[in-house]
């Protein structure tokens, strides 16, 4: 994946020089290892700041909401699906965008790597499928496939679904992946066990809303959690309020979530917030045969009616 960057820079430079875009949204190196950050490049002299490696897990569609400029945007499979969703939801116009597609081989899980070592990880390099992690007094080589983000290890849309330029040849999609084993495990529990599972899951939540902020779907001018007239949900750390936030956030993503993992990646206390959205994704697939952001010309299941829609829950 490292080799992609020359092509990304070349395309970005060309787009900026030709005036086809006002800026390119991509990644630059973060101040900490494994934490690349979004970058807005406005003149072609700056394209050398752009980087590409396995630490680009942030979803760049998040930075397109309601923008008025012409934008070149770098898009992995999941970003491209969120871009499609943005276009369907009128958050950006297709003709404002030049999508620089990046066939993706997965992003690495920073939390997993940090947890493997007792002391701070100072440097992370990668070459092909080997990731070398260095810190004070240790150096270890890891296989990339062992340290992928959970969502990436289950991803079946690594190639961008919509693009104008391509930074590299398309990659082979992962096949025969069991995406919903964990959801099924929870489905099999008794109501009380389920309740307890989610209780334990969200117990460390500090309600910082980083998961919401990282998600491209969460673009409401005033989020329901911030509204005070009327106040939809309590602001306290009471478990009821925390849970209300979590299940409502998840419902707002129903039929829209691309499982990009940006929410989970952003959480400072490492809560697996995708446990909520995964169930909704699974249901959307089972009931409506729907995966978000894959079909640019179809309305999502929750804003259309089809005679065959399941309705047995209505009594």
């Amino acid at each position: 994946m490292l080799g992609y960057i020359d092509k990304i820079r070349e395309i970005s430079k060309r787009l900026l020089d030709e005036g086809r875009v006002d800026m390119v949204v991509g990644f630059r190196k973060g101040s900490m290892p494994m934490m690349n950050e979004p970058s807005f490049i406005k003149n072609s002299g700056e394209v050398s700041k752009l980087v590409w490696d396995s630490n680009c897990g942030i979803n760049l569609a998040n930075y397109l909401t309601d923008r008025k400029e012409k934008i070149g945007v770098i898009a992995k499979g999941c970003d491209s699906r969120n871009i499609v969703t943005h276009i369907l939801e009128n958050k950006i116009k297709r003709d404002q965008l030049v999508i620089i597609g990046v066939p993706c081989k997965g992003m690495i899980d920073r939390r997993l790597i940090t947890a493997m070592f007792d002391t701070e990880v100072r440097e992370v390099n990668e070459k092909g499928d080997t990731v070398t992690v260095k810190g004070a007094g240790f150096e270890k080589k890891l296989k990339k496939s062992d340290i992928l983000q959970d969502n990436c290890s289950k991803c079946i849309h690594r190639n961008p679904v919509l693009y104008d330029e391509l930074a590299a040849p398309l990659v082979e999609e992962q096949k025969d992946i069991d995406r919903y084993a964990e959801v099924r495990r929870i489905e099999a529990m008794s109501p009380q066990e389920k309740w307890q599972y989610f209780e334990d899951l969200i117990a460390p939540c500090i309600r910082c809303y980083a998961c919401r902020n990282a998600c491209p779907l969460c673009y409401c001018p005033t989020c329901f959690v911030d509204e005070s007239r009327p106040q939809w949900v309590g602001k306290s750390q009471d478990e009821t309020d925390i849970r209300t936030f979590h299940f409502l956030r998840a419902y707002h993503c129903a039929g829209r979530c691309t499982d990009c993992g940006a929410c989970e990646r952003a959480c400072p206390v490492g809560i697996k917030v995708r446990q909520f959205t995964s169930k909704l994704n699974k249901d959307c697939l089972d009931m409506f045969g729907w995966e978000a952001g894959v079909l640019p010309d179809q309305r999502p299941p929750l804003d259309t009616f089809k005679p065959a829609d399941p309705g047995d829950f209505i009594k």
């Binding site: 109501p191 009380q192 066990e193 389920k194 309740w195 307890q196 009471d238 209505i314």
Partner: protein, 52 residues
């Protein structure tokens, strides 16, 4: 909601026209009976309101 641990039956959806008074009564009776059978809900209550 059921996935999160709310018991099946505690939450119901119906589609009743304002002209369907008998259906409304039936549904309400039905829902009340199901919820009563489930007993008091002790999840999803603020700490201060918990019945101990």
């Amino acid at each position: 909601m059921e996935h999160m641990g709310v018991e099946p039956g505690r939450l119901s959806f119906s589609w009743i026209s304002s002209a369907e008074s008998t259906k409304f009564v039936d549904v309400v009776k039905d829902v009340t009976a199901t919820v009563k059978a489930l007993g008091p809900n002790n999840n999803f209550k603020k700490a201060a309101d918990k019945v101990t």
